[in-house]
Symmetry: C2
Subunit: 263 residues, 2 copies
């Protein structure tokens, strides 16, 4: 008896079909498709528009309000644009979300950043509060809880520049707005990052090595858990001050303090 | 005898003319225009396309290569798209760059992220190495050195959530990919962040208070220096390992280690 087939939503942000990213994407999707249902969002090929604008804020000349409220109203009234709704459906159906992109200016390409801006709307990805505690359901809970995410990021730099105390900042810290502020905020648990370094100097053998390393990782992905999961808001460690309780990891100010387990 | 008029490039990323951002933008630009030459990039009003794509990579069906190399070739050959070239001209002319945006998923809106992706090209913003040391001219040096930047960010959250040890991460750390990885990388010196908190609950009096606070800041902007400037690559503190020298702030792993002066 095998476990039920899991569903994956793999999102790629890269303009070139000849890129290292596109190659890893094709191999990864093919590999996972053997025993998963894989839905893809190849954002460049779809022509996804990343600019949150009038279409997301309800009818032009419509009601007044700030962006958060207007997006909440569009969700409640069912006027979310169909290309956004389509992305939301794929995300809803997924057990595992894969986000794959080249590091551009120490973050995701705009086409992916805008996917977050437009798709993770008020009412779909976040919004409600816990009726018992009055706390917002976020950071570990929230409307997308129950899902896990694998972030695959390719970089021009090496593991020293974007490693601990590296000149460009630690990649875990650089990705915090995504892994913690976006994924974990909405309840999606990020797995350890999958980083590919030095990609601009890659030859065929390097791509082959990285394809193999990715397949190995994907082979175990259904049983993987993060090395150090983020803290849950509901555990009360931020209660009252919205800052981490003073007795926990006193004196430390790095973003790693928001993880539950540290060496 | 007064000092020569300075030139400002103010970049705004917000979809609504009725927003708090648009209001602060209009007042700020008007205020600075009294004694500065102010050029604006109101990205939504311009319809700026943030998606780095075929147009940035040279003629379709053109040569093969990765994105970094193709953008370098487009720069060298003068085939950079005119809307990008126009942004580069405004940036080149500026002594002070103002970047203003609402915090969306702990970073800039996609329309601004893509402005970095497309405008700060290889050969325009970064690329060369120092002929004497062989080190790349970046992190403090680079093709845009001599300019300073003011980052104005509005947030829904309060100063505790995005303060030191705050649940959402310190705003200085959240902005590191922008202030250090993007601005400082290309030689632009970021001034201390200008953060506006709790904006979603703002009434008229709050907007008025923040406009006044912004005008006060802008009044002194030409003489302002950052409280703790970032370290310069050329000072050698990362030499050999690309990580901060072990004897400097030993044991610390927060992104603040990359600043030259700390309490
Ligand atoms: C606009 C742009 C910005 C980049 N910024 C970074 C960066 O911040 N850090 C880094 O390590 N590499 C950076 N790079 C290099 C890319 O990460 C690298 O080219 C990419 O991961 C290679 O994968 P690909 O062949 O699939 O494009 C940048 C490249 C471009 C085109
Ligand atoms: C898509 C989206 C994402 C947001 N993400 C954040 C966030 O990560 N942190 C935060 O403090 N506020 C967040 N907010 C709230 C905005 O920062 C806030 O609405 C804005 O700064 C208010 O300024 P405005 O009236 O000019 O739009 C978000 C709002 C939207 C619409």
């Amino acid at each position: 008896m095998s476990a039920p087939r899991k569903t994956v939503h793999w999102i790629l942000a890269h303009p070139q079909e000849s890129s290292v990213n596109a190659r890893l994407f094709r191999e990864g999707v093919e590999f996972l498709s053997r025993d998963h249902d894989v839905h893809v969002s190849d954002l460049y090929r779809q022509g996804f528009d990343p600019v949150l604008g009038a279409a997301d804020l309800g009818a032009p000349g419509g009601r007044e309000g700030n962006v958060v409220d207007l997006m909440g109203a569009a969700h409640a009234e069912g006027t979310v644009p169909s290309e956004v709704r389509e992305e939301q459906r794929k995300l809803e159906a997924a057990d595992l979300v894969v986000l794959q992109f080249p590091l551009w200016w120490y973050g995701p390409p705009a086409i992916l950043k805008g996917w977050f801006d437009r798709v993770l709307t008020n009412g779909f990805a976040y919004g409600p509060t816990d009726p018992e505690t009055g706390l917002p359901l976020r950071y570990g809970e929230g409307l997308l809880a129950g899902r896990r995410a694998l972030v695959i990021v390719t970089a021009g730099e090496d593991d020293r520049s974007i490693g601990t105390r590296g000149i460009s900042g630690d990649i875990d810290a650089l990705m915090f707005p995504l892994t913690h502020g976006t994924l974990w905020y909405t309840g999606i648990e990020p797995l350890d990052l999958h980083v590919v370094h030095d990609v601009d100097g890659f030859g065929a053998a390097d791509v082959e090595r990285e394809s193999a390393r990715l397949r190995t990782r994907l082979a175990g992905i259904d049983d993987e858990t993060p090395t150090s999961p983020y803290r849950r808001l509901r555990d009360g460690e931020y209660h009252g001050t919205r800052a981490l309780r003073a007795d926990l990891l006193p004196g430390r100010t790095d973003l790693g303090i928001h993880r539950r387990v540290r060496d």
